[in-house]
Amino acid sequence: MLLEFEQISRSFGGVKALSGVTFGVGEGTIHGLIGPNGSGKTTLMNVVSGLCPPDGGRLLLGGRPIHRLGPHRIAGLGVARTFQNIRLFAGMTCMENVIAAQHLRGGRALLPRLLRLRGAKISETRSVAEALTCLTKAGIAARKSAIAGALSYGERRRLEIARAMALEPRLLLLDEPIAGMRLREIEEMEGLFRSLARSGITILLIEHNMPFVMRLCHRITVLHFGQTVITGAPEEVAEHQGVIDAYLGPKRTEG
């Protein structure tokens, strides 16, 4: 297991957003996180990325507890994410967005640049080339000089994925990555996520598009009122009575 949730809890005021969430995400798998609105999916993602530390429980990344670390430390351990409401650097171009996200990989150091050393130029060229690779993978290289704020909705989602890939993550968290995309774009994203998983990146994704989740994910966890209903293979989850109840409401007893 790359990522393990052990009894993770988090409250906001009196509201228990998460209580006792326990499941594991296997290395190199695509793991879906589904559940009705308000079931705590995004909160759980904020817990993993360190934006919202849990009140209780343990979170392990590769066996190492990370629930007390700040967001930049967790990113440093190889966790990248996108946001449901898309948080790009809107005033920068696509290329600049990805370069800004190369912070952890080093390079572009101040001193060689000040002294105009040859290494500075090489480091810069490499940084631009790597950024272009990320843009190409996410299928947005053609728009590299466009200002991020001026992109279409689908393009912004792609750019956010490109930016997350600049971190060269072990674990990629995607919060509704295909929301608002057209069918053809969804198919392209599906291909992208599969190839990322093949290259060894573990993906944890939140998505409401059920056919997409069922096709793509190796394992699925269902959250309901901040609790895990079931974790299992797609077929298992689809037939589980608790899941059907969570989405459609419990079956009324005939009588």
Partner: protein, 282 residues
């Protein structure tokens, strides 16, 4: 030529110092931090360096460096709690800090109280001012394309996104604040040794706002913007004098008009008027 310098020498000097002060505010602005404490940091630099040269006969470069380091050290202490606050509250907190510095200068004996310090040795030359400005502008230009500069820009654009990109936002916000204070401290020290006299009022609210206006008018999106803004706004009173508009309300009116026009028509400042041709991959 020498006649030109005799007439406009002090104007050119003050334009250079104002440009340096404008750059000192540009640094925290480039990391999205609206600090209104930079005039106070300049005041700290001015008083510390002037006291050192006047009382202890300290060498001029050492006094300037000591003033700048003192300003930076104060910024370390102030920055830790203050930079936890975001946006307009940060502006208010730093403004309050500026008032504390001003009131301290008015009430302390060593700073000469409300009358300030008189008889500061004249050491600052045009060459020193423009040399310092040149070094600062070069340094900040290089900084912009470095990992530190990219971190500043990321924090300015979206602090939460910057965090999950692995950027230690607390560290970089503090760095920007401290670097800005250091540059302001240098500018203050140079100002003290140019002007013969310094008083607490010079480093108050009006000065803070003036620095912000330089950045808005020139544009805080490039290193050249604040310098341009400072030059233009320092020169305008002289130009207006040429067309018989002297001090007072008409001059402030012209300043206000320029600010308004820039905000309305060139939201990224005058420097955006000159360029937007640079490559995207700086």
């Amino acid at each position: 030529m020498s006649e030109f310098f005799a007439v406009y020498g002090s104007l050119i000097n003050f334009a250079g110092l104002n440009a340096l002060l404008a750059l000192s505010l540009y640094v925290p602005l480039s990391a999205g931090q609206l600090s209104l404490g930079n005039a106070a940091f300049a005041g700290i630099g001015a008083y510390v360096s002037a006291i050192l040269t006047m009382r202890l006969n300290a060498p001029f470069p050492l006094a300037i460096a000591a003033g700048a380091f003192t300003a930076a050290c104060v910024a370390v202490v102030i920055g830790a709690p203050v930079l936890r606050i975001r946006g307009i509250f940060l502006a208010m907190a730093t403004l309050a800090f500026g008032e504390v510095v001003r009131i301290a200068a008015v009430n302390l004996a060593i700073t000469g109280g409300a009358e300030g310090l008189i008889g500061i040795p004249s050491k600052t030359t045009m060459l020193i001012i423009y040399g310092t400005l040149g070094v600062a502008a070069y340094f900040l230009t290089i900084l912009r394309g470095s990992r530190i500069g990219w971190s500043f820009a990321s924090i300015r654009e979206d602090e939460t996104a910057a965090m999950v990109m692995g950027i230690n936002t607390t560290l970089y916000k503090n760095s920007a604040f401290i670097l800005g204070a250091f540059i302001a401290g240098i500018a203050g020290g140079l100002y003290a040794h140019l002007n013969f006299i310094i008083t607490p009022g010079e480093f108050g609210f009006a000065a803070e706002v003036q620095l912000l206006i330089y950045n808005i008018v020139g544009g805080a999106r490039s290193v050249w913007g604040p310098i341009l803004g400072a030059f233009i706004l320092t020169a305008i009173p002289e130009v207006l004098r040429g067309v018989d508009i002297t001090a007072g309300p008409p001059r402030l009116f012209v300043n206000g008009l320029i600010l308004l026009l820039v905000i309305l028509y060139l939201p990224n400042g005058l420097s955006s008027f000159f360029k937007r041709a640079k490559g995207s991959s700086e």
